[in-house]
Structure formats: structure tokens, C-alpha cells
């Protein structure tokens, strides 16, 4: 009965739109990353620059990629650290 009333007032379970949006969002993260490897290259260069302010890193073996876990996409960076810089506490 409750089901009937909710349906009567158009309050069914959330429609398929949200599923479409979510799937599109994920697929576009990948499409865009694959289409422009330059983007990841630029990010990589920026990362090196920022991190180098704090530590000495192995730029050769630095790896930046987008990885997909079920319903999420993560930016995974593997950055080998050679040495920490001594940052004076202010």
C-alpha cells in the first residue's frame, strides 16, 4: 500500500539517471586520461617540483597513474624517496 502511494506521487526508487551519471563520470576520467597522456606528464613534472622542496626523490622511478577501484578512480603516485631535506621549523 505504501509502495502504491509513493508510486502515485512519483517517489519511486531513484531513477536510472544517477546510474548513468556515475558510469559516465568514471568512464570519462579514464577516457580523458588516456586521450591526453600529456596531462599525466604535466602533473608528473609539477609533482616532482613540489615534492623536491621537501625531499630528494628518485625521478627516474617515479610512477603516476590513474587506477580504478570498483566505483572510484584514484590517482596513484609511487615516489621513491632518496633523502629527506632538513626543513627548519619556524
Amino acid at each position: 500500500m505504501l509502495d502504491f502511494i509513493t508510486r502515485l506521487f512519483g517517489r519511486e526508487s531513484p531513477g536510472s539517471k544517477s546510474v548513468a551519471m556515475e558510469r559516465l563520470r568514471l568512464v570519462l576520467v579514464h577516457d580523458r586520461a588516456n586521450v591526453s597522456p600529456q596531462l599525466l606528464q604535466l602533473l608528473r613534472a609539477d609533482l616532482i617540483q613540489v615534492i623536491s622542496n621537501y625531499m630528494e626523490i628518485d625521478e627516474e622511478n617515479l610512477d603516476v597513474s590513474l587506477e580504478k577501484f570498483e566505483d572510484k578512480v584514484a590517482l596513484v603516485a609511487n615516489i621513491p624517496v632518496k633523502r629527506m631535506k632538513r626543513v627548519a621549523n619556524s
Partner: protein, 264 residues
């Protein structure tokens, strides 16, 4: 100041040709001179959508090969003063038109017409590259479906990589009833995903199919909602800030009541 505009989409069957035909007729209705170029060599359709299929003598590939003069290949639309079609060949393939051919052709056409609109083939191969290479502005047509939006996103990236910045999107075949019940992405959702400006929304309308059956673009039909939507798009191309059309003209009393009470 003449403009060369390409109508593209990536995915096939979303309405590029219909949009091209209607924008062309609409611009002519507003008193502008227009040439529509069918760049879909081998799979031409703009001629039938416009109802000009029986008047083709020469085509785009003849002009490029030097078999005729440009003027001889242009078909004058007798219903819309100022509207012309440059059809393409049905029996050749896309390699018959190189990007540089279309670029020089459009330069020539710009001197003769206010607007040159290129109906781009589906896909992102040579035909697409030729079509976008000649254009200064781009319109991306999509429908509120996952596949069409994904392809539109890819095409927007390719357009921007080719210095066609700020493409505008037309969302075709919108069904407001489905949006209302949460089963179709709405305009805001689509713009949010694609991140580009909206040029207009066309409702999913049987009248468009009827118009195509007859070879009469819907923009000339004063009574139809989709015709109005196309006329608004034409106004926006001309620089008039026309507000978005309300696509829910015949709401039932019950639905209206629901809205008033606050459900949905």
C-alpha cells in the same frame, strides 16, 4: 563577417544532419545567406533531409577535381531565399576530400555567404578531420544518453586540440517526462559533465520525423515546439540571448497539481 561552423558529434545518429538543415533554413529565414556543406562523402543525407535530392548535378568532389565551377555545384533552395546546399558524392569515399581542399573551398564560400555550415560525418577519422579543419566554430550535437555524451566528450577534446575552442552543445531528443522521473540526464547534468556552453535543447518530437519524411525542416513549422527550439538556436547563433524554452507544454492537471503541492 562570415562564419564557418562545423556541426559534429562523434557518435552517429544523434541528429547532426537534422540540426545542420534546420539551422541553415532558420538562418535563411532570418534573411542571411547560407551554404550548407555535406561533408559525409559516401553516406550523404543532407540532400534528402532538405528535400533537394532530385536537384543534384555536381557535387563537392566535382568542385575539388575541377569538373565544374563552385557555382554550378551549389543548389539553391527555392523555399528559403539565400539557402544553398553543396552536396557531396555518394559513390566516392572520404579520401576524395582532403582537409586542404575543404579549407580553400570554405575560404571561397566565405566571400559569397554570411554563413557556411559543415555537416560533419560521424566518427573521428579523416572525414571528421577534414570537416573540422575548415571550421572556425563548432557545434557539438548530443543526446541525453551515456554513449552519445561519452563520444561528445571525446570530440570536444579533439576540437580543442585543433584550436576550435569554446564549442557549444545542442542536446537533442530531450524527454522531459523521463528527466522528471529521474530516468534521463537533465540539461544541468549534461553541461556539468561536458563543461561547455549550451546552445540549445531540442525536445524528442515526432514532428521532426514527419518533417524529415517530407524533406521539410521543422524550423519552418510555426506550431511545433521543436521548430521553436530550432528558431531559438538560430537566434542565439545570431547573438541574441534567448531564454531556454519550456519543454513541458502539455502537462496533465495531475502533474501540475503534484508540482504545486510540492511533490517533485
Amino acid at each position: 563577417m562570415s562564419e564557418v561552423i562545423v556541426v559534429t558529434s562523434g557518435k552517429g545518429g544523434v541528429g547532426k544532419t537534422t540540426v545542420t538543415a534546420n539551422i541553415g533554413c532558420g538562418l535563411a529565414m532570418m534573411g542571411h545567406t547560407v551554404t550548407l556543406i555535406d561533408a559525409d562523402t559516401g553516406l550523404r543525407n543532407l540532400d534528402v533531409v532538405l528535400g533537394l535530392e532530385n536537384r543534384i548535378v555536381y557535387d563537392l568532389t566535382d568542385v575539388i577535381a575541377g569538373n565544374c565551377r563552385l557555382r554550378q555545384a551549389l543548389i539553391k533552395d527555392k523555399r528559403y531565399e539565400g539557402l544553398h546546399l553543396l552536396p557531396t558524392a555518394q559513390t566516392k569515399d572520404k579520401s576524395a576530400v582532403r582537409p586542404e581542399d575543404l579549407i580553400s573551398l570554405c575560404e571561397e564560400l566565405k566571400d559569397l555567404f554570411d554563413y557556411v555550415i559543415i555537416d560533419c560525418p560521424a566518427g573521428i577519422e579523416q572525414g571528421f578531420k577534414s570537416a573540422i579543419g575548415a571550421a572556425e566554430k563548432a557545434i557539438v550535437v548530443t543526446t541525453p544518453e551515456v554513449a552519445a555524451i561519452r563520444d561528445a566528450d571525446r570530440v570536444i577534446g579533439l576540437l580543442e586540440a585543433n584550436d576550435l575552442n569554446d564549442p557549444k552543445v545542442i542536446v537533442n531528443r530531450m524527454r522531459m517526462k523521463m528527466v522528471d522521473r529521474g530516468d534521463m540526464m537533465g540539461i544541468e547534468d549534461i553541461l556539468d559533465i561536458l563543461g561547455i556552453e549550451l546552445l540549445g535543447v531540442i525536445p524528442d518530437d515526432e514532428e521532426i520525423i514527419i518533417g524529415t519524411n517530407r524533406g521539410e525542416p521543422i524550423v519552418g513549422n510555426d506550431d511545433s515546439l521543436s521548430g521553436k527550439a530550432f528558431r531559438n538556436i538560430v537566434m542565439r547563433i545570431l547573438g541574441e540571448p534567448v531564454p531556454l524554452l519550456n519543454l513541458e507544454p502539455n502537462q496533465g492537471l495531475f502533474l501540475k497539481l503534484k508540482k504545486i503541492i510540492g511533490f517533485k
